[in-house]
């Protein structure tokens, strides 16, 4: 079996996230759970399906950039759906201005996504969400968006309004990120979705409107929570159950991307949202999983965070290529080899793929070098591989090309590192630990330092590509 280099190249595009519901993508998926400090996704699933199907739960999920969080969350979604749950998964970065987020924004984003999702289910009709609508009407008035939150009325001022032959009005409203929404014959939850969409779209693009909206929403936070719970989540769950569903789960992805900049009063945004306001985040009356910034794990407020949520954040660690003592992690390496080979030969059985290594690489050691130097960072591995493939017209891929790619990556990384950081990196290399120093948060965020976990807890390593830098070992 010969390798289709172009297909292999496309399958290693580092900007791609695997979607488990896609049959082709399933073939690429490798289950790393055995080497990732326990079955985190299974734990999340069990907490919902087994321990608490009826009582709401709230979980925090985090991990390094590109270690496969979204892929795993999408798998969790599919698993939960198999168990009969209705799952609303969304990328919060679409709804929120990540430099400037407040609790009300997150709650409204959830309300909107749940409404939209229920609306798409036939026969899930729930009562008029009166207080939510009135809240939105207040907000809309404040922002001077003329959203008429009643069932049959037209929506003046925000799009073309056309009267149909029956004398009913319909309006085409373009909402960024949602596309065209027709407001005719809408009622209840659809109008909530429409209203929130319109309001957030306006607020997202204007700091002034955002702060106006904040002033309005902030004192009403409890009211908003109650309205969402009573008028949306509870009746929604009720209807879902009548349809044979087990419950409702909301997965808020990308919330780990809220910027770490300080709020005007000096508190960092992640600490403000997850620690100071964690209390509000966990009060929604359904199962919710929030992604949170990894850096919070190294914050002095970690215990405050754990207290607020009553659970430890679940961390998706890197795939280990080495054990704590520096020796090779055979299982991690074997899975990474499989990950690479699956992208080359998706239709071949895992055991048989190993015999095809010569079709792809000049030498099995070359493949091992790739896996090792990736540090077990899934996306980084794909990126190195993708960079390397394009240097070749025909397989097999030669070691020399890989070393070129590694040199180039190291060179790019060192561009960004200053003297103080070299010092911090040297310390990581020596102690395998990081302290509460802010400098380390930046090193982790920039992928210069990786965190690993085993049964004894976590340890840290300098990104292997950097670890080979002469400067570090001087």
């Amino acid at each position: 079996m010969t390798l289709d280099l172009r297909k292999f190249f496309q399958a290693t595009n580092p900007s791609k996230t695997l979607a488990v519901e896609n049959e082709e993508d399933q073939k690429y998926y490798i289950d790393f759970s055995s080497v990732r400090g326990g079955k985190i996704i299974e734990e999340l699933k069990d907490n919902i399906t087994f321990f608490s199907p009826d009582e709401p739960t709230c979980e925090l999920f985090t991990g390094h950039i590109g270690c496969g969080k979204s892929t795993e969350l999408l798998r969790l979604k599919a698993d939960l759906e198999q168990e009969g749950f209705h799952v609303v998964y969304f990328e919060s970065s679409q709804d929120l201005e990540m430099g400037d987020v407040d609790i009300g924004d997150i709650l409204l984003a959830i309300a909107r996504r749940v409404s939209e999702s229920l609306e798409h289910l036939e026969k899930v009709k729930i009562g008029e969400p009166e207080s939510l609508k009135s809240l939105l009407r207040g907000a809309a008035k404040l922002l001077q968006t003329e959203i008429e939150l009643s069932a049959e009325a037209s929506v003046p001022g925000i799009g073309k309004v056309a009267a149909s032959t029956e004398g009913k009005f319909s309006a085409e409203v373009g909402i960024p990120g949602v596309g065209q929404v027709t407001a005719s014959d809408k009622e209840g939850v659809s109008l909530v979705a429409l209203g929130i969409g319109k309001i957030t779209a306006k607020a997202k693009n204007s700091p002034e409107l955002r702060s106006k909206l904040r002033e309005y929403l902030e004192p009403r936070t409890n009211g908003i929570l109650e309205a969402i719970n009573k008028e949306l989540l509870e009746p929604g769950k009720e209807k879902l159950k009548q349809q044979g569903k087990t419950g409702l789960v909301v997965i808020v992805d990308n919330l780990d991307r809220v910027e770490s900049r300080n709020k005007p009063w000096g508190r960092s945004q992640p600490e403000y949202l997850f620690v100071d306001r964690g209390e509000h985040l966990r009060q929604l009356n359904c199962h919710v999983i929030y992604t949170m910034p990894l850096a919070l794990l190294f914050s002095n407020d970690l215990s405050g965070l754990t207290n607020r949520f009553g659970v430890d954040p679940k961390v998706l660690p890197m795939v280990p290529v080495k054990l704590r003592d520096g020796s090779e992690c055979a299982e991690g390496m074997a899975l990474l080899r499989q990950m690479v080979l699956a992208r080359a030969f998706p239709n071949v059985e895992p055991e048989k793929r190993l015999s095809l290594i010569p079709e792809v690489f000049d030498n099995p050691e070359t493949l091992d070098r790739l896996c090792c130097v990736s540090g077990g960072h899934v996306r980084e591995l794909l990126r190195l591989l993708n960079d390397w493939i394009k240097k070749n017209r025909t397989p097999p891929l030669a070691r020399e090309g890989l070393e070129d790619v590694i040199r180039s990556r190291r060179n790019q990384m060192t561009l960004a590192i200053d003297d103080k950081e070299w010092e911090l990196l040297r310390r990581v290399q020596e102690r395998k630990q990081v302290s509460g120093d802010d400098g380390y948060q930046v090193l982790i965020r920039s992928m210069f330092v990786y965190e690993y976990r085993d049964s004894e807890g976590s340890w840290f390593e300098v990104n292997p590509i950097l670890a080979e830098a002469a400067r570090l070992n001087a």
Binding site: Q10, N13, S408, L415, A416
Partner: protein, 153 residues
């Protein structure tokens, strides 16, 4: 004299290779989003390289030079392109954008939008200074990118 000639030849040869690599990456990525960084510190070199690239590449590459006031890499490009999506898009002038920090931070936040709506390779020409900011301010977006290095003679 001979030495300087030789280093010129080496630069030419490695640039030729790099351009072939870039052309291949653009062609092979046809129809899907990909972020490709063309690392080049010399604006004067760029022009000649781009011409050679277009000769090498079977895909038509649209070019866009950003003006100083350019704000949103995704938002503004999406509006400009509308339904008229190119087969490949090459962006110049990032180094002269006045609020580059903001542009990169914003691009990082909406990176999924690129993937969803730009079903073509996006090539950003970057100087070392831009690259450094990209690594710092847009680590998620940067982690999607592959690089082609072009050396000045």
């Amino acid at each position: 004299m001979t030495t300087s000639h030789r280093s010129e030849d080496v630069a030419d040869e490695s640039n030729q290779k790099a351009l072939e690599e870039l052309a291949r990456a653009i062609e092979w990525n046809g129809g899907q989003f990909a972020l490709i960084l063309a690392r080049c510190n010399s604006a004067s070199l760029q022009k000649g390289l781009v011409q050679t690239l277009q000769e090498l590449c079977s895909v038509e590459i649209r070019q866009r030079v950003l003006e100083q006031s350019f704000k949103l890499l995704y938002g503004n490009l999406q509006t400009e392109l509308g339904q008229n999506k190119p087969q490949a898009l090459m962006i110049f002038g990032l180094e002269s954008v006045s609020d580059l920090d903001q542009l990169l931070t914003a691009a990082n936040q909406v990176r999924e939008e690129f993937r969803k709506n730009f079903n073509f390779p996006l090539v950003l020409w970057v100087t070392d200074e831009v690259l450094q900011k990209l690594i710092r301010l847009a680590p998620d977006f940067y982690s999607w990118g592959t690089t082609v290095e072009l050396a000045p003679r």
